[in-house]
């Protein structure tokens, strides 16, 4: 199955195909090495910028810049690999946060609050899944709609109020440390990353997922229950948004309806930066994890030199286009060179 799905014939660089095909292992390795080099460069720059950078505490602080977004980026990567997308994640986080905050005014039970969060996120994700798999709405259209719907519900319920009646123990999720400088957020993210990586790269489910992303119809004809997978991925993304919302709300200590505004773009950027093809069918979890670390480092480095948030997102946008565009330019040049040789065509 792996062979037929991922590995087109090697060595035949066809003239109509500007991208020379290689085995996915080599492609993966190249992309990850590329990301690692960029990370190393940024790391060196940060060390150069701040003498306090190389301490366990600072490095732990750096991780807070990406853990919440990256936690959603993991299932989002799976979703995009399967050829779908969810733009409503940030709005889902806001809705979850508002519901959680409302409940926190009634009860101080942590399990009830977290349970409510997960339930709301799950329902929101399932609604997206139903729209896409049952009512056949294209994912991008469906989630643009639900983005407006979920964010709108958050605004409708909360208006211009702020919720901050969280019980004292609630702060642990976003601010607590499990052991030494290892934060709860980082631990959760690491676990989720390992799980997702095993799921995608080591199980039959992962192979089917890639198959769906490559060719939905072919996968369906080959006996893959495409809709079940897609629905499951939307639910998983919803639940991950809920967990990220718990972490973010706990870290900020308060809920406004504008919480996590615009975060969907950061999350999707992170996934694409990780080498996941937006057209589906290709991508790796290690790539996404590296992209998350890179994002965290860049944001931290920019923070060190007092760059305002909107300029940070400018640079992240430029980085996204640059990192996606550069390899394409490189491949173009390589192709042109191959074609220039006699008999290259």
């Amino acid at each position: 199955m792996t062979e037929s799905v991922d590995t087109p014939p090697v060595g035949e660089a066809r003239a109509s195909q500007p991208v020379p095909r290689t085995t996915w292992r080599r492609q993966l390795l190249r992309w990850e090495v590329f990301l690692l080099l960029v990370i190393a460069a940024d790391f060196a720059l940060d060390v150069h910028l701040s003498p306090y950078f190389l301490s366990a505490e600072t490095l732990s602080d750096v991780t807070f810049n990406f853990t919440e977004k990256a936690l959603v980026a993991l299932p989002m990567a799976l979703l995009i690999i399967a050829g779908e997308i969810d733009i409503s994640v940030a709005a889902n986080m806001a809705l979850v946060s508002v519901c959680m905050g409302q409940l926190a005014t009634q009860t101080a039970s942590l399990s009830a609050i977290v349970g409510c969060a997960v339930a709301v996120g799950l329902l929101a994700g399932a609604f997206n899944g139903v729209l896409v798999t049952r009512w056949r709405v294209p994912a991008i259209v469906a989630t643009i709609g639900t983005m407006s719907l979920y964010r709108g519900l958050a605004y409708g319920i909360l208006g211009d109020r702020v919720l901050k009646d969280y019980p004292p123990g609630f702060a642990f999720f976003g601010q607590g440390y499990v052991a030494g400088p290892l934060s709860f957020e980082l631990l959760l993210f690491t676990l989720a990353a390992v799980l997702c990586a095993l799921y995608l790269h080591r199980t039959e489910f992962g192979v089917r997922l890639v198959a769906i992303g490559c060719n939905k119809t072919a996968a369906e004809l080959a006996g893959v229950r495409v809709d079940r997978y897609r629905f499951g991925l939307f639910v998983a993304t919803g639940v991950a948004s809920a967990v990220a919302s718990v972490l973010l709300t706990s870290r900020l200590g308060s809920t406004r309806p504008s919480i996590a505004q615009g975060m969907e773009l950061d999350i999707i950027s992170m996934v694409i930066l990780g080498g996941v093809a937006i057209t589906g069918g290709r991508g790796s979890i290690p790539g996404v994890v590296l992209a998350a670390i890179l994002t965290g480092l860049v944001i931290f480095g920019l923070g060190l030199i007092n760059v305002p948030g909107v300029v940070m997102s400018l640079l992240m946008g430029a980085l996204l286009i640059l990192i996606v565009g550069l390899p394409i330019v490189g491949q173009r040049l390589a192709c042109a060179r191959a074609h220039a040789q006699p008999g290259g065509r």
């Binding site: 009512w135 294209p138 709609g145 719907l149 964010r151 409708g156 909107v310 400018l314 565009g325 330019v329």
Partner: protein, 331 residues
């Protein structure tokens, strides 16, 4: 070859008729309770309020026809709007038409950046415009250093041009009407217009008949950028203020109007009439809600619910049309 009434496919015609009926019903329901909603003034105001959306949605439609999407429109509006506001503040003597022209040109340049990246590098448009969305918004902050340009800083001519009334209707509304007619003729009668449909409905087939789908995409991005640039001026002049976050998130409203209007996200299909109706539908809702006493905080949720419903209905319509086509083709 079957006759196509009004030059539309039966599916599109059905969709547009349904949408028109829905909009009319909504309007009648509101106007029945609140007579002032049907007054000439209210109608004119409602259309004036929807005009920028109509302009942007027509531009977005061109892009969507070629199987691309432009998420950076609202950021383009902000950047061009901020630029002309700053020029006006620094040099109030420069005639306003020049500013309008430069806004459109700047917008077209920003669109060309998107278009060239899509055409030459073959990066998926959603990735490109996700990046340029952040870049243009950040550039807006950089050119203004985060300051606001208020109405006091702008020249009276700069502000009054959009409010100029000809025959009782504002220049802004006339622009929207002109854009609807122009786009309809462009898409119907010009070879370039047909190219956009061809490029989006089947890029491979388009290549065999000599249509470069990438070039068509690039062209659509340039047009859309030009329109967004023009809207940058219109937005700033109409709301009489320019700051970094103007039109924040408006790209989604624009795309929603297109989707409700029946423009396919997969490219190649969509009608100008549908987009116009989609915009009017959203415009009527937006103007009716405050009248009905709905808290502004609930408005976003309601328009979200409307978008989801419209998307579901439209998806069902597409499936129905497909089923019918299969039935018709069988002997």
């Amino acid at each position: 070859m079957r006759a196509k009434p009004f030059g539309m496919h039966p599916g599109a015609l059905r969709h547009n008729a349904g949408l028109a009926l829905l909009t009319a019903m909504l309007f009648v329901a509101v106007a029945g309770r609140y007579r002032q909603f049907a007054s000439a003034t209210a109608l004119r105001d409602c259309f004036d309020d929807t005009s920028i959306l109509i302009l942007l949605a027509l531009g977005q439609m061109l892009v969507m026809l070629t199987r691309a999407i432009d998420l950076s429109v609202a950021a383009t509006v902000a950047l061009t709007g901020m630029c002309v506001a700053l020029i006006n503040q620094a040099m109030p003597g420069v005639a306003v038409p020049w500013l309008v022209l430069s806004a459109a040109l700047l917008g077209a340049t920003l669109g060309a950046v998107n278009g060239l990246l899509a055409w030459q590098l073959r990066i998926p448009p959603i990735v490109i415009t996700l990046g340029t969305l952040a870049i243009y918004r950040g550039a807006t902050y950089l050119v203004s250093s985060g300051r606001w340009v208020n109405s006091g800083d702008m020249s009276p001519q700069f502000l009054s041009l959009v409010r100029e009334r000809w025959g009782g209707v504002t220049l802004l509304s006339w622009l929207a009407i002109a854009a609807v007619l122009l786009t309809a003729c462009f898409l119907r009668y010009s070879a370039t217009g047909r190219t956009l449909y061809a490029a989006g409905s089947n890029p491979d087939a388009a290549r065999y008949v000599g249509v470069d789908a990438g070039r068509a995409q690039c062209l659509a991005f340039v047009f859309n950028g030009g329109v967004a640039g023009l809207c940058g001026y219109l937005w700033v002049a109409r709301y009489a203020v320019a700051y970094t976050d103007i039109a924040g998130g408006f790209e989604l409203t624009v795309i929603a109007a297109c989707v409700i209007g029946g423009v396919s996200i997969a490219g190649g299909s969509g009608t100008v009439l549908g987009v116009l109706l989609g915009c009017l539908f959203l415009g009527v809702i937006k103007n009716a809600l405050p009248l009905l006493g709905v808290s502004p905080f609930w408005q976003m949720a309601i328009s979200g619910a409307v978008i989801v419903t419209a998307a579901v209905l439209s998806a069902a319509g597409v499936r129905g049309a497909q089923r019918q086509r299969i039935l018709e083709s069988s002997p």
